[in-house]
């Protein structure tokens, strides 16, 4: 009886994770695409060490950060993928979403300040373990995107 309850609980979590996770991801991607289009006019440029600096009035540091987690269904499917190896596509979308969201937040912050270009952008990613209790790999990632806005 106890085992049955546990299995039922597991299945419910799986179904909940699958549907809600998909719904949230779709919504998130929609918002990312919309905001990316809106901020397209501000270029992000990386400079080499020998390049002379461009002539601008003001420069300031901007950063955007996000902590994003994977849903239960994907966590289990990634665990299965771990058995056979290969590309873990479910994690790819998580990292993609995180990085784009962090970049967008940085960009929006810089635009609010009045930047017309963002220079030398760097990305920093770290994993912050799964939910407390279970130790099933990285459950969530944190991304920091930072760069210099100029105007």
């Amino acid at each position: 009886m106890d085992a049955l309850v546990q299995i039922l609980f597991f299945v419910v979590l799986l179904i909940l994770g699958y549907f809600w996770g998909r719904y949230f991801e779709k919504r998130h991607y929609k918002s990312i695409l919309r905001r990316e289009k809106k901020t397209l006019n501000i270029p992000i440029v990386n400079f080499g060490a020998k390049q002379s600096l461009i002539d601008v009035q003001e420069a300031a540091l901007f950063a955007g950060s996000v902590v994003i987690s994977i849903d239960y269904f994907k966590m289990i499917s990634a665990a299965f993928r771990n058995l056979v190896g290969g590309r873990v596509t479910v994690y790819e979308s998580l990292l993609d979403r995180g990085r784009r969201e962090a970049l967008l937040r940085m960009k929006e912050d810089a635009i609010k300040w009045g930047a017309n270009q963002i220079l030398n952008v760097r990305l920093e990613t770290a994993t912050i373990g799964g939910s407390s209790g279970n130790n099933s790999g990285p459950g969530s990632i944190e991304v920091i995107a930072y760069g210099t806005g100029v105007k």
Binding site: G21, A59, A60, L61, F62, I68, S69, Y72
Partner: protein, 113 residues
């Protein structure tokens, strides 16, 4: 990012400050914060782990610690007499289970236009 305390110190990820020349060089300055997971936020986060998506509590925590690390770095730079920090980088590392460090470092310089 530009609050009152940091207003006189220019922060960039570039080799120098655009439109100004570097007059003096003070070497590396750094600031770091170590933060642990918050119990209350952790419970919320574990619920959120079922459906996925952004963990708002943790994002705020990350933002706060980023600001704190930058502030400590700026403090060190102003003590040296610098008015800008160039080539800033962030770095993260996990110290122990559920404890993470956020580290900011850069080069303190004095610039003049």
């Amino acid at each position: 990012m530009n609050n009152k305390k940091e207003k006189n110190v220019i922060l960039t990820t570039l080799e120098g400050v655009p439109g100004q020349t570097i007059m003096e060089h003070y070497g590396l300055v750094q600031g770091s914060t170590i933060r642990a997971k918050h119990i209350g936020k952790d419970i919320m986060a574990s619920f959120k782990n079922i459906v996925g998506g952004e963990l708002k509590g943790y994002t705020e925590l990350l933002q706060e610690s980023r600001k704190e690390a930058l502030e400590r770095m700026v403090e060190q730079a102003t003590e040296l007499g610098a008015n800008a920090v160039v080539n800033i980088r962030f770095s993260t590392s996990s110290v122990a289970q559920g404890v993470a460090e956020l580290f900011a470092y850069g080069t303190a310089v004095k610039v003049e236009s």
